[in-house]
Every structure is written in structure tokens, then in C-alpha cells.
């Protein structure tokens, strides 16, 4: 008997794709170069006075990093984001798992989150501002309303769709209700729950930026709004570039973490 390792065949690989020129990294680099040059040319041409070239934007980016204004703004933005995400993660997973385990809780709670997931909840921001003022609380709550629905619904579905045979297995080996939840249902659900957390974090980023643009300009939102108003577009673009790169890197790290923690089959393959 030998170990059977699962090899995933790469779909329709041509001989060209296998050459080093067309390696994924090369092609990615190539497309990045094309996009940046297109940005540069469009900015130099210029297609719009409000469209600075790539190089100017990067220069502004490094200037703002070096004088400390960008890192400072990022820290300010991170405050409502991280608090909001921590609250959403704990509350969201808790509610979702509860609804997955308890039919009554699901009946009572899930319609709210199902509607919330398809609804444009950003429109609630003005109401949050009325209720909680223009301070930190409103911004935290904005992050929460954007991030929570997907976290809750993923947790609910993950728990609800635990393979029936695993549950029967637990029961037939005489697990108590708690053992079944802790040793079978939650481990089986955790990959999907974690995927929900990743989506929730992405939504939280959207929320925090909206909050900083709509409620009061602080942090990155302040740099964007201020430079927009005085037509310093390089700085504005640099700040947007920075927050997008930051969030993409953050989400990528979460994806890595997910692969390491929950996908033994992927871990073995790579």
C-alpha cells in the first residue's frame, strides 16, 4: 500500500504556458508593468487634469511615508476597523453558530441577516451618525454592519451543512451534545466559517473607508478628502493606492493562514 497523494491537474496546459517566459510570476510581472505604464502614459498625456501619472503618485506615496503622515493616517483608520472587525468576528461567529445549532434561533434571526446581506446597508450610515454622533462609535458600527452579515451567514451555513454521516458517527460513538459540537461540528465547520471571516474583513475595509468619507474625514479618508479639495491629486491617489494595497495584502495573508490552518490536503500538495 502506498500513500495516494492528490495531484490536481493544471487545466489545458499548453507547451507555451510551460515555458519560463510564461511562468505565472513572469506573466503577472508583465501585466503589472503594462498596467503601470498605461497609467503613466495616461497621466502624462493627460486624459484628465485629475489623473496624475504613476511615477508622480509613487513619489507622493514615498514622500508621505517618509514624513510619517501616511503611516499615522493608516493607524487612525485601523482603529475603527480593528475594533469593528473584532466585534463582528466574535459576535458574528457566535450568532451564526447558535443559529446553526438551534432551529428557533435560526428562524428568529436568519431572515434579518439574509435581508442584510442583499441590502445596501451603506445607506444606514446617516442613521448611525444621527444615533451615535460623528465619533468613533459610528465608524465602528459602520464596519460592523458591513462585515457581520456574511460572517453570520457563513457560520450558520457551515454548521448547518456539517456532513450528516459525521454527525451520525459522533452519535453512534456515544458523544454527548457538547462533545458533538466541540469535536465534530465546529471542526467540520471551521473552514467555511474562516472563509466567511475573510469575506467579512474585506467588507469591513469597504465600511471603514465609507465611514471616513461620509461621517467625518479621519485617517486615510482625511488625506483623500483634503487633497481632493485642494486638487493635490498625487497625494489623494497615493493614499487610495496605499489603503488598497494594505487591504489586499491583509486579505492575502488571511488566505494563506486559511490554507495552513484548515486545508491539510492543500498544505500537503504545495
Amino acid at each position: 500500500m502506498t500513500l495516494i497523494t492528490e495531484t490536481v491537474p493544471v487545466a489545458r496546459q499548453t507547451s507555451f504556458a510551460a515555458s519560463p517566459f510564461a511562468s505565472p510570476a513572469m506573466l503577472w510581472l508583465l501585466s503589472a508593468v503594462i498596467v503601470c505604464s498605461a497609467w503613466e502614459i495616461a497621466g502624462r498625456y493627460p486624459i484628465s487634469p485629475a489623473f496624475p501619472p504613476f511615477t508622480d503618485t509613487m513619489a507622493a506615496l514615498f514622500a508621505m511615508i517618509l514624513d510619517g503622515s501616511l503611516p499615522k493616517a493608516l493607524l487612525i483608520t485601523l482603529k475603527p476597523l480593528s475594533i469593528g472587525l473584532i466585534v463582528s468576528v466574535f459576535l458574528g461567529v457566535g450568532l451564526g453558530v447558535l443559529m446553526g445549532l438551534n432551529r428557533f434561533a435560526e428562524w428568529l434571526g436568519s431572515p434579518l441577516f439574509i435581508i442584510a446581506q442583499s441590502a445596501p446597508l451603506a445607506a444606514l450610515i446617516p442613521i448611525l451618525t444621527f444615533a451615535y454622533g460623528i465619533g468613533l462609535t459610528s465608524k465602528i458600527l459602520t464596519v460592523c454592519i458591513m462585515a457581520m452579515p456574511v460572517i453570520v451567514l457563513n457560520s450558520l451555513n457551515a454548521v448547518r451543512h456539517t456532513p450528516a454521516s459525521l454527525i451520525e458517527m459522533g452519535q453512534s460513538f456515544l458523544s454527548t451534545r457538547w462533545q458533538l459540537i466541540l469535536k465534530v461540528i465546529l471542526p467540520a465547520a471551521s473552514p467555511v466559517i474562516f472563509a466567511g471571516l475573510r469575506l467579512g474583513c474585506a467588507a469591513g475595509f469597504i465600511g471603514v473607508i465609507l465611514a471616513e468619507l461620509l461621517i467625518t474625514p479621519t485617517g486615510i479618508g482625511d488625506i483623500i478628502t483634503y487633497n481632493q479639495s485642494i486638487a493635490e491629486y498625487e497625494n489623494m491617489y497615493a493614499a487610495i493606492f496605499a489603503i488598497i494595497v494594505f487591504s489586499v495584502v491583509f486579505i492575502m495573508l488571511l488566505e494563506r493562514l486559511e490554507a495552513v490552518m484548515f486545508r491539510p490536503e492543500k498544505r500537503a500538495a504545495s
Binding site: V10, A11, R12, Q13, T14, F16, A17, A22, L27, W28, L30, S31, V35, S48, A50, F51, R103, F104, W107, L108, G109, P111, L112, I115, S118, A119, P120, L121, A122, A123, L124, I125, P126, I127, T129, F130, A131, R198, L199, A202, F205, I206, V208, I209, L210, L213, L214, I220, I224, T225, Q228, Y233, M236, Y237, I240, I243, I244, S247, V248, I251
Partner: protein
Amino acid sequence: MYIGKFRLPIMSSLLIWAALWEIAGRTGASFIIPPLSRIFARIIEIVPTPAFGDALWITGKAFILGNIIAICIGVPLGVLMGRSVIADRIFLPWVNMFLSSPLSALVPVIMVIFGAGQTTIVLTVVLFAIWIVVLDARAGVRNITPSLVEMARSFGANRFQAFSKIFVWAALPEILAGVRLGMIRAVKGVVIGQLLVSIVGFGRLFEIYSSRFLMEHFWALLFVLFAFAFAINEALAWLERRFEYFAASRN
């Protein structure tokens, strides 16, 4: 959820929440939460007004135009990525990046280039909707069973026939799923765009209502919007289920 033998409908718990809301509103604890009955009365009052009609028309136009652009670019790009390794490697990192990046940060960019108007909102809709359309069309094409492609080839289908008679149909369940998810994102995009631009469509109404503290009007508008979003989602989900039968028979 059962009470005895009687099965409660899925969304029936909303009635309980509505009752709680009504009670909370009646106590007058906060001007932010007016009684639900008054909000519904306000919906009936607002919806026939020309201001609402104009806003709906402008918003609907931006939503539909944005979605058409997103589908017309997104589906072919996704099919291309599903068929060509090179195209896939060039575009996939960007698609994945934009799919999970905070697109709300890009709205100010669109705004400074295209001005605070309808164009910006249409482009915001495209920006929100397109990535998931691309990704699902790609997944649909990649999921086609190789034997189906070989079948077409063995019966002598040419490239165009293979594309129009096999690929598009075989990938249709995923493409539709992508369109539905894209539209949900588009609803969010159109509202976020209008909130940020705030002089067009519902964004303008939101601005007027909130600056005059008309909470009943504000909630009425929100409810109408949420109902639209929910209805669009359900209608597309129903359409998707009609095509599910061959998605299930495929794997």
C-alpha cells in the same frame, strides 16, 4: 421551525421584529426609530411623488447600464480566461485583487475624473459588479466536463459552434450565479456611489431627508431600497434554480 405539526414560514419571524419595532417606536425612546406603522404610511406617501419617481428612474438607469456594461465585458473576459492559460495568468491576479479590495476608496478617483454625476455612478456600479461576473464565468468554463468538449469535436463542431452551442450553455449556471452576485454588489455600488456623490437620485433624497431630520422619510426610503434589493436577489435566485438541473447533473 415547527410549532407542533405546523411549519412556520421561513420569513415569518420578521413579523415579530416588526412588532418589536412598532413598540419601540411607540415608546418614543428615540426619534431615530419612529413607529413602523408611520414608516409604512410614509412609504405610501413618498412613492407616488415625482421626486421619488425621478430618483428611481435615475438610479434604475445607472444600475441597469452599469450591469449591462459589467456583463458585456465580464462574461467574455471570464470565458477567455477559462479557455486560455495565458489570459488567465495575466488577468486573474487583478480580478482577485479587485474582488476583495475596498472599492469604496476608488469612488473618489472616479469622481475627480468624471465629475459628480451620473457617469460616476454608472462606473461605480461597473466597478462593484464586474469582478464576480468575470470570476464565475471563468469557473463555469473551467468546470465544463472535458468529455462534453470532446463530444462536440467528435461530431465535427467548429470553433464558433463549440462556443455558442456548448461552452455558453454548459457554463450558464455559473454565469447566472455570477450575474446574480454581481447585481447584489451593483445594488450596493449604486447606493454607495449615490451616497458619495449625494446630488443624484436617492443620494440626493437621503441628503435632503437627513439634513432636515425627516427620520420617517429616511426609513421609508431605506425600506423601499432594501425591498428592491431583496426582490432582485430572489428573482435572480429563482432564475438560477431553473438552470440548476444541469449544473447538478454535470460534476
